[in-house]
Point group: C2
Chain length 359, copies 2
Amino acid sequence: MTITQNDDGSLLYTNSEPFLLTSGQQLPQWQLCFETFGELSPHKDNVVLVHHALSVGSHATSTPRNDKKGWWQDMIGPGKAIDTDQYHVICINNLGSCFGSSSPVEVNHQTGHRWAGDFPEISINDMVTSQKRLLEYLGIECLYAIIGNSMGAMLSLTWAIEYPDSLKRLMLTCSSYKAYPANIANRHIQQQSIRIDPNFKQGNYQPGDDLNGFRLARKLGLFTYRNATEWNRRFNSFGNGDMRDDEINRYMDHNADAFCRKFDANTYLLLTTAMDSYNVTQNYPSMAAAFGRISAKITVISVESDILFTPQQQQELYEGLKLGEVVCEYINHQSQYGHDAFLVEVEAFGEYVREVLAG
Amino acid sequence: MTITQNDDGSLLYTNSEPFLLTSGQQLPQWQLCFETFGELSPHKDNVVLVHHALSVGSHATSTPRNDKKGWWQDMIGPGKAIDTDQYHVICINNLGSCFGSSSPVEVNHQTGHRWAGDFPEISINDMVTSQKRLLEYLGIECLYAIIGNSMGAMLSLTWAIEYPDSLKRLMLTCSSYKAYPANIANRHIQQQSIRIDPNFKQGNYQPGDDLNGFRLARKLGLFTYRNATEWNRRFNSFGNGDMRDDEINRYMDHNADAFCRKFDANTYLLLTTAMDSYNVTQNYPSMAAAFGRISAKITVISVESDILFTPQQQQELYEGLKLGEVVCEYINHQSQYGHDAFLVEVEAFGEYVREVLAG
C-alpha cells in the first residue's frame, strides 16, 4: 500500500491486495484518488469525511496546487461552514468513478488494456469498504462527522450502519435508504439510452468517440436535478422578448457536451447500477435491526421541490431511523431549486452544516 | 368532399382540395377520421367537441360498431358526465395523427408511397382549421361546448381564439397557452431518442421495425404522466415482500412495447413538434389582444401534482384570460395522479365537466 501525489496535488492510495467485491468478483489491485483540506489534529479527531455526488470527484474545493473551483467551493475552506481552520476535510473519489480511482477508464494491469466495459460491478458497500481501508491506513479510527449529498449520502448512511463506532455525526442531504422505483426507472431509461447508441459498442468505444446516447442520458439526468416549474421559471419568455422558449435546448446541449467530454459512459453505467441495487437494510433481518446499529447522531435534509430524491424518500428514511432509535432530526428544506439546492443555496445549507458540526 | 364509414363505425371525411399549412407547405388532399356519440339535435345546437390528447384518437368511448373501450369510456355515454342522451359528442382524430386522419402512415397519393418522414409539418392551428372545415361541412356552426385535455386543450384554446363566435363553453384541463421550456426540453430529449436510433433511418423505417429509441421516448413520456412520488407509492416495496423495486422497469417496458406497436414514430415526432411551436398569442400584438377575442366562458383546471403541464402554466393562462377580460374560472385540482388525473379520476373530473356543461 502506498500513497503518492498527483500533479494537481490530489493523493493516490494504491492497494495491491485483491479486493473481493459484493458481486463475488475481484479487483486484483485498486486505487483511490482523494484530497484533504485543512490540517489533521495531533489526535486525529477533527476529520470530516465528505461524500460526493454522482458526477464529481475528490476536488471539493480549490487548493494551493489546484486552483480550479471545487464542487462545494463556497462550503469548504477557512472560515466557511466546513471550516478548514478547524477540520481536516477528506473527500475521496468513489471506487469505480473516473476521476482518479479504480474505474473503467483505468488500465487493468492483468491485461494491459483499459477496463472499459469489463470493469466488475461495484456496490455502494464496496465503495464504503474501500474508503474505510484507506482511512485505516491513514490511522484515522473515528470521524468527527460525515457529510453526504445525493449518491454520496448513500455511502454515508452505509458507513454509519457498517462501522457504527467510527463516526459521531452524520448529515444526509437529498438521500434515501434504498433505491426507489422512480429513481430506478429514471436511471434505467438513461442506461438504455447509452446502450442503444451504436457508437457505444457495448462499452468498447474509444476515448473521444461521439456518444449521442450518453449525451441524451445526461440531459435526462440534468432535467431531474431541477424540476419543471423551476426550468419554466428560468427559461420562460413570458414578458421577455430576448429569450426564446427553446433556449433550454441549447443550454442542455451545451451542458451535455461538456459533461460527456469529462465523464465516462461506462463509469456512468457502473455508478448508476450501483445505486440501483442500494438498500442499507438488505443484509439485516429488519429495518429496525439495520438502523439500530447506528450510534451517530443524524440530520436528514430533503428539499421540498426535489423530484429525484423526493421528500417522501427521506421521510421513510427518518421513520426507519426512529425505528432504530437513532438520535435524529429531519428537515424539509423549502426551495425552488430541486435536487440541486444543496449546490445552489450554499448559505442555507451552510447553516445546516454548521449546526451539525456544532451539535 | 365526402364522408364514408370505416369498418369500425368511425367516419372518414375526405377533402380533395389542397390544404395550405402554416409552414407554407401543402397537403394535396387530406382526411380526418372522427366518431360521434349521441344524436344531433334538429337545431344542431347540442354539439360537444372533445379534443383528445397526444397518444389516442377519435375512439373516446365504445359504440355499437366498436365495443373496444374508449380513452374516456367512463366519461362519455348515456347518463354519464358528458351525457349522450343529451349531447352529440364529436371526437376527431387530429390532423397528422396515425389513427385514421392524414398522417405519416397514410399514402401520399402523389407518390403512391406512405408519407413516412416526408409528411409536411403540421401546426396546432392547422389541426383546428381542418376540424372547423369538417364541422362546416357537417353544417354545425356553433358548438355547445369544447372540452380539451392536455395536447387536446391546445386545439380547444386555439379554436376559442380563432373562431370566437362558434362556441359557448370551454373546459381546458392540464393545458397551457404556449409551449413551455420544460415541455420543450422533455420533448426534445424524446425526439432525439427516436432519431439517434439507427433503425429509425431518418424516418424511413418499415412498419413493424424494432425501434428502441421510440420505446425509450415513450418511457420518458410515460414517466412524466405521473410523478416520482406517485411512481414510488405505486411500486414501492416498503413492507411489501412480493414486489421488487425494479418492477417499474418491467411495467414501463411492457407499456412502451404495446404503445410502439400501435403508434407511429414519425407521427410522434410530427405531433410533438407541433406542440413545440404552439403559442396562441403569437399572431397577435399582445396577450390581451389574443385572449380578448374569446367570447366563450372558460374553465381552466390544473392538477397540483402534474409535472408535465404544471399548475404554474395554467395560472399564467388564467392571468392571460383575465387580461383579455374573459369570463373564466380556475381550479387547481388536488390529486396524486399527476397529468393522468383526468383519465384516472373520472368521478371528480366528471363533476367539473357537468358544471361546465350546465353553466
